[in-house]
């Protein structure tokens, strides 16, 4: 009976996730219904998915979490199998409940869709990270808590600052400075200089600098969009990108580049700049291809990974095996071999989800991300304040483009770039950046509501 339920739970999870996704898109049609409690239903789905997933994992691997907690806290956890699962599961739910209630308390007007999506994606992250290593999942949970506190502090500080665009030089100089320090002194991981360590903690600064970069562009372009101003931003953006390319952090370099093109385009509404940006992008791609061996290797491994299956193509072929074997409904948690993919917990977490939770679940995640993106853009569309409009749109672009890079790379649609999937991938820098990004948008949304804007989701109709 337990087994049957755990076998069936993969279908339950798929259905619940699909329902949740549906609600995301229905929420955009807020004008037609009144007092719709879509977000409450979404909470139920989030909770139920967590429940079924942890139940399945308990049936398959009862000792998993007890052992991990034992390792983490250095205590004996024998005979605590059931208890450890219940504690861990409830703790995660508690974090979600606190997260939602504190957000609702602190931000007078909170965008429920973004908040729910954040919970849902974090929840899926906990499931898949627990399945791969419960120890890492516990660390992930602590990082989420820390990130939440930091994010709330950050938006608290922002609320006190009168005029954010004044700090334009801080945004650019600080950003370039930090990236340059990483380039010179950073740790080398997998051939790229991505991170540096302080007091035993490893940071990947390019993650946070993305946010500063959006602040910089919004500050530079919100008033004046004349040519000299654009040229000035181009130089600063170029410096960011070049330092990242030299650090071999191709994924981040691409994100900065694309964010720059999109933000300039949205600030000027001039198709000429868009074309110029695309042309520049093409030239830069060709130059990078010619100049850097590691770029050529990535392209080669992408074109025919099976020809290089032993070396360059190993990651991507293992990722494809995982997705292909999982098919639409997945092999079930602990039914596959996601750990065969190198760096599965960070760069290839989407493939692990497709393998065990199914491709339908993967598609739902893509749609949830898209609904978050549309909401962020939608907030931008309705804002009267040009600075905030650019901020919101800029965050939307860096968020969605990063997802495109990581998932597109994992399914062999584009070459691998090695970036993380926001909220789901393991890693503090990625988590912190994603959570801060969402809270920044929440903060912008609350500013928008203070301006007197109408709510952008159903269920909070003005009386």
């Amino acid at each position: 009976m337990y087994l049957l339920l755990s076998e069936l739970s993969k279908y339950f999870i798929t259905i619940l996730l699909a329902l949740y996704t549906l609600e995301c898109f229905i929420s955009f049609r807020f004008k037609k219904q009144k007092n719709n409690l879509f977000y409450v239903r979404q909470w139920i789905y989030i909770f139920a998915i967590q429940f079924f997933a942890f139940y399945t994992m308990y049936v398959k691997q009862p000792k998993l979490i007890a052992e991990a907690i034992g390792d983490y806290l250095n205590i004996k956890t024998e005979n605590l199998e059931v208890a450890s699962y219940i504690v861990f599961f409830l703790f995660i739910q508690l974090v979600f409940v606190l997260m939602i209630s504190i957000s609702l308390l602190l931000l007078e007007n909170c965008n429920r869709l973004l908040l729910n999506n954040m919970c849902m994606l974090l929840g899926i992250g906990f499931i898949i990270q627990t399945r791969m290593s419960a120890y890492r999942a516990i660390k992930q949970l602590t990082m989420v808590i820390i990130s939440l506190i930091l994010a709330l502090i950050i938006i608290g500080i922002l609320g006190k600052i009168k005029h954010l665009p004044d700090f334009i030089h801080f945004y650019s100089v600080f950003g370039i400075g930090i990236l340059a320090i990483v380039l010179v002194m950073g740790n080398i991981t997998h051939g790229s200089k991505l991170s540096f360590s302080i007091a035993g903690l490893t940071f990947q600064p390019s993650e946070f600098i993305k946010l500063l970069f959006v602040f910089f562009l919004a500050s530079a372009l919100y008033e004046k969009t004349n040519f000299t101003n654009i040229l000035f931003t181009a130089v600063i953006a170029g410096m960011h990108v070049i330092i990242l390319v030299l650090s071999k952090d191709l994924g981040s370099a691409l994100i900065f580049f694309v964010a720059y093109i999109c933000i300039v385009f949205m600030a000027t509404d001039n198709f000429g700049y868009l074309l110029l940006g695309i042309a520049g992008f093409c030239i830069a791609s060709v130059v990078a291809y010619r100049l850097f061996y590691h770029v050529r290797v990535r392209v080669l491994a992408w074109q025919d990974p099976f020809a290089y299956i032993d070396k360059e193509g190993f990651q991507i072929t293992q990722s494809l095996f995982a997705i292909g074997s999982g098919n639409y409904f997945g092999l079930g948690l602990f039914g596959g071999l996601p750990k065969d993919i190198p760096y599965v917990e960070t760069d290839f977490v989407f493939s692990a989800i497709c393998e065990e939770m199914g491709v339908i679940a993967g598609i739902c995640i893509l749609l949830i991300c898209i609904s978050s993106f549309i909401m962020m853009m939608n907030i931008g569309l309705h804002l009267k304040d040009e600075f905030l409009r650019l901020l919101s749109a800029g965050f939307a672009v860096i968020y969605i483009f990063q997802i495109f890079l990581t998932i597109g790379g994992g399914i062999k649609m584009i070459p691998l770039t090695g970036v993380t999937l926001p909220f789901i991938s393991y890693g503090g820098s990625s988590l912190l950046t994603s959570i801060v990004l969402f809270y920044l948008v929440e903060w912008i949304y609350s500013r928008y509501c203070e301006e007197g804007g109408a709510p952008l989701e159903k269920g909070k109709q003005k009386a």
């Binding site: 076998e7 509404d269 997705i323 292909g324 074997s325 098919n327 491709v359 893509l366 749609l367």
Partner: protein, 479 residues
């Protein structure tokens, strides 16, 4: 405020960016679905994918069965050991293959189905609780045991291959390759097999063996001629003196036979090399090349098992010598029995080439069909008129030509023999036969190669007769 006026304008760019990313993600979802729909098997079957082992630990390997339900490969459980046994041993060695020491044949091609178990979920759960493995899915092939046995016996101790297909569907009825091996003994004989380079026992000659087609290629030369001279080919005349000479190039008829006065039908029936050299010299090389392209020479074949690509050289720069030799299936021309069978079957099928296939359906352990494969056409390779003309020519080969050993039976066969020389020493030739029956409403198409035997008419045709008889006996016993 100044921004009030600008706003509607500026939002245009935001809509562009928004639509772009939404479309990009829809494209990504489409790409993902397409990948899952089309590559699942390929991903499971790759030897780098260790997930096969998960299934192997959960399920017993399913059985491979013939069309009549006879077991060709079964997994027997003795104690803790699972032993793969092949009741027909050597008779199906290449086509069924083996699954230890790597995987070959249907064991490899259908591996994806054999390692899965599609029994109902509640039974799986019961088995899981009881700690026993699930029975894997069974694969029903298109192979007919009586025909395969007839072909196996007919080929006797010769090296060579036989392939028999159903004309209208492309189902492979029999596929024999010799020398063979006993798949039950594969572990024991493995070392000998891999070390024995010259007889290439492991090679499935029916689909991977490349041979000079010899006179069987005259079917194609004839087709090209009919296409180029649709109105005048019937008035073709040639006086054969046993050889053909152009400049320094000379070729002889088989055994130097002097065929005398010939028309087109008779040239084909008697398989006159001199006349066909003469025909070849009248062909437009680029049109000939087009015909060869449609027939899939130098190209991939639409099959899902291992095969070799047939080769032919045909272009404007080809010398007279090469042209003469190519017209009679020599020079650099090489073909697999499989490919020749596909071309012959297209003639029998009114010009439409069917995709040959080996797996008819997959059933779970209770006999519920999980997947049914259906015949599919690869396309038209010649007009129905051309197919009809070639059929007549091939009927004449049986009635008045080189395959008379197939005449006077209770069915009419059509075919073409070949005696392909494979080195310059006289008498070293492979015996070919490719043909079908009944000529009026073709059922099966048989292609035979007997290595180094001699003439097709003497060696391959009698084998074809035994195979056709086996098929018609099997059909009669059903009715």
């Amino acid at each position: 405020m100044k921004k009030e006026n600008k706003k509607p304008d500026r939002n245009k760019s935001m809509y562009v960016v928004m639509s772009f990313f939404v479309l990009l993600f829809l494209g990504m979802i489409g790409y993902l679905c397409n990948f899952v729909n089309n590559h699942e098997q390929e991903m499971w079957n790759n030897s780098y994918n260790k997930r096969q082992e998960i299934l192997a630990s959960q399920n017993y390997r399913g059985s491979i069965l013939a069309a009549g339900g006879e077991e060709l490969a079964v997994t027997k459980v003795i104690g803790d050991e699972e032993i793969r046994t092949y009741p027909y041993a050597e008779k199906f060695s290449h086509v069924v293959g083996f699954c230890t020491q790597g995987k070959t044949g249907i064991e490899s091609q259908a591996n994806f189905y054999l390692i899965q178990s599609n029994i109902p979920l509640n039974e799986k759960v019961q088995n899981d609780i009881a700690g026993i493995k699930n029975p894997g899915d069974n694969v029903y092939t298109t192979l007919h045991v009586p025909v395969q046995e007839a072909a196996y016996k007919a080929l006797d101790n010769y090296k060579g291959a036989v392939i028999v297909t159903e004309v209208k569907t492309g189902k492979i009825i029999a596929m024999v390759s010799k020398p063979d091996y006993d798949p039950n003994q594969i572990t024991e004989i493995w070392q000998d097999l891999v070390e024995d380079k010259y007889s290439t026992v492991l090679l499935n000659r029916a689909s991977q063996g490349l041979y000079p087609p010899g006179s069987t290629f005259k079917i194609i030369t004839a087709l090209a001629y009919i296409r180029q001279y649709p109105d005048t080919y019937t008035s073709y005349r040639y006086q054969c003196n046993g050889y053909y000479k152009k400049g320094d190039n000379r070729i002889n008829c088989y055994h130097g036979t002097n065929h005398g006065s010939l028309d087109f039908t008779k040239s084909f029936a008697k398989s006159c090399n001199s006349s066909f050299a003469n025909i070849g010299m009248q062909l437009d090389k680029s049109k000939f090349s087009d015909t060869l392209d449609t027939l899939l020479f130098n190209d991939k074949l639409p099959v899902s098992f291992l095969y070799s690509e047939s080769k032919v050289e045909m272009n404007e720069e080809l010398s007279d010598e090469a042209m003469i030799q190519t017209s009679i299936g020599q020079w650099k021309t090489q073909i697999t029995p499989l490919h020749l069978n596909m071309i012959t079957a297209s003639i029998a099928n009114g010009g439409i080439m069917m995709k040959p296939y080996l797996i008819d359906r997959v059933e779970n352990a209770h006999g519920t069909v999980i997947k049914q494969f259906s015949p599919s056409a690869n396309g038209r390779v010649m007009s129905s008129e051309e197919a009809e003309i070639l059929t007549e020519l091939m009927v004449n080969v049986v009635e008045n030509g080189t395959a008379t050993k197939l005449s006077g039976l209770n069915y009419t066969a059509a075919g073409k023999t070949g005696s392909a020389e494979y080195n310059n020493v006289k008498g070293d030739s492979h015996a070919w036969f490719t043909g079908f029956a009944p000529a009026e409403d073709p059922e099966i198409c048989v292609t035979i190669i007997v290595e180094g035997a001699g003439s097709g008419g003497d060696y391959a045709v009698p084998m074809a007769k035994r195979i056709f008889n086996a098929w018609f006996d099997e059909q009669d016993s059903k009715n």
